[in-house]
Symmetry: C2
Subunit: 287 residues, 2 copies
């Protein structure tokens, strides 16, 4: 697929970075950005993240080859309903959401036969927010998870995969359910735990926190509205992950016993080693 | 107090850094380092962390004005017993342990009348370990908590406070019990949680972890032996902090409900704001 007209719905950190990368890497691609705040669209035009601003969804998706939903997850359903009748035949729609079961189901429900939906989760970003932090290289080298299900069009899947790869991403595939279960554990739950670790502290204890505490809770610095959408959309899997964490902490608590010192040490060393292996793997990937 | 002879028992990252700083900042101070591995002592001599190496505790503390326990917390009791009869009259003993009730009690039990103990917790370090990572400026600008109790000698307390300040640290005072309760929350529990977050993951999910997960679990990369000692020594307070985290996570779980979206957002935003305030405060301190 050649993307001649790309529609980015929501021009924040991620949407803006996709626009910057597409305009820099794809030849002959016109990028239209949709947003509900004029100031954001003006800024996106100014930094070159989009070629054209649209204040209405209908205008934003008109004639688009590829439409990418880049708003918070909670707005996807309404956007899909609104754009459904405005897509050209053969248009492909994807998204950048952190949860995948709901958007895949909503797309199947709302989009017309001539349009194809492929779920994507580009794992790039930061706790920063807004188009002013957008960077051409935000996506480069990061992983994008694609979540086809039984009804996904094979050509559309290949096209979306190619799109992310052209922007420098690695890609992998899993089902929407596999995605949501895995991300609940490695991303959503850690965010909630970081927030809980901050929320539980008394002010006088918080004054004593060191660099370790600040690192461990950095992810709690994200935008509350974005994360509310993710938690509520993926509530069942977040609950399941929370159950697994509770079990692990209960196990840790049984090891708080001078007679279990060696077992406690082994448990701690094993976690340290598993994390060390991850860091090494990540460094190798970056080489 | 002029420290003419400083005895560092355990020449690892922290002990080595104290030696480097003392030799660079204090004039006329002879630094003796004790360790049970000759290779470590040789390396400490080589990098200039100590003037003299001692393979025996008795020789290490002979004639020392100030003795600092820098081994893992679990060895403090035996070391105090061993050095008790070898300290000169008026000697001051302190430590760098991450727990304070037990070492203060053990010192009161074992040290002779003529020697004074003052508990210290210099909050500097990293997940790295060993004298090879020692740095002259590791302590500079960091906080040192001193933990006097009703029986602490006022002059010895002032002298130890002055010692850490001379090495560039800020100091604060609290009771051993206050220290152990606060640190269980801001340091010990977050370490256990980070280890549990790693330990609970399935290998295929771990492959999807991003920078956020690696940051959130960085503290789990520490040495298992050191941390086993801390957890077992402070088990009651770690259990109490774990109880508070459980309550906070239970509250979070009740908010995983579309009807509680605004409450969930407020909870997340509040944690993000509290952390942001901490980071700003820290930056101000570093200016």
């Amino acid at each position: 697929m050649q993307v001649r007209r790309l529609s980015i719905l929501g021009v924040g950190l991620l949407g803006g970075s996709i626009g910057l990368a597409a305009r820099s890497i794809l030849s002959d691609c016109h990028v239209v950005g949709y947003g509900h705040r004029k100031a954001t669209l003006d800024r996106a035009l100014e930094i070159g993240a989009i070629d054209e601003a649209a204040g209405e969804l209908e205008a934003a998706v008109l004639d688009a080859d590829l439409v990418i939903l880049c708003t918070p997850v909670g707005m996807f359903s309404e956007i899909l309903r609104t754009i459904a009748g405005k897509l050209k035949a053969g248009a492909i729609v994807t998204d950048v959401g952190s949860t995948k079961r709901s958007v895949v189901a909503e797309a199947a429900r709302h989009l017309p036969k001539g349009a194809h939906f492929v779920g994507s989760h580009p794992m790039a970003g930061s706790e920063k927010r807004g188009v002013e932090f957008a960077r051409t290289d935000l996506l480069a080298g990061a992983l994008c998870i694609l979540t086809p299900d039984g009804s996904t069009d094979a050509k559309a899947l290949a096209a979306v995969e190619e799109f992310w790869r052209t922007l420098g991403m690695h890609t992998t595939r899993m089902t929407p359910a596999e995605h949501d279960a895995a991300l609940a554990g490695v991303s959503h739950l850690p965010h909630a735990v970081a927030a809980a670790l901050v929320a539980m502290q008394r002010p006088e204890a918080l004054k004593l926190c060191g660099k370790g505490f600040l690192d461990a809770t950095r992810i709690a610095g994200g935008d509350g509205g974005l994360w509310r959408d993710i938690f509520i959309d993926n509530a069942d899997q977040v609950r399941a992950a929370l159950g697994e964490l509770r079990e692990m902490l209960a196990k840790f608590e049984t090891l708080l016993d001078p007679e279990k010192g060696e077992e406690l040490r082994a448990w701690l060393d094993e976690a340290a080693k598993a994390r060390e292996a991850l860091v090494r793997e990540r460094l190798r990937e970056e080489e």
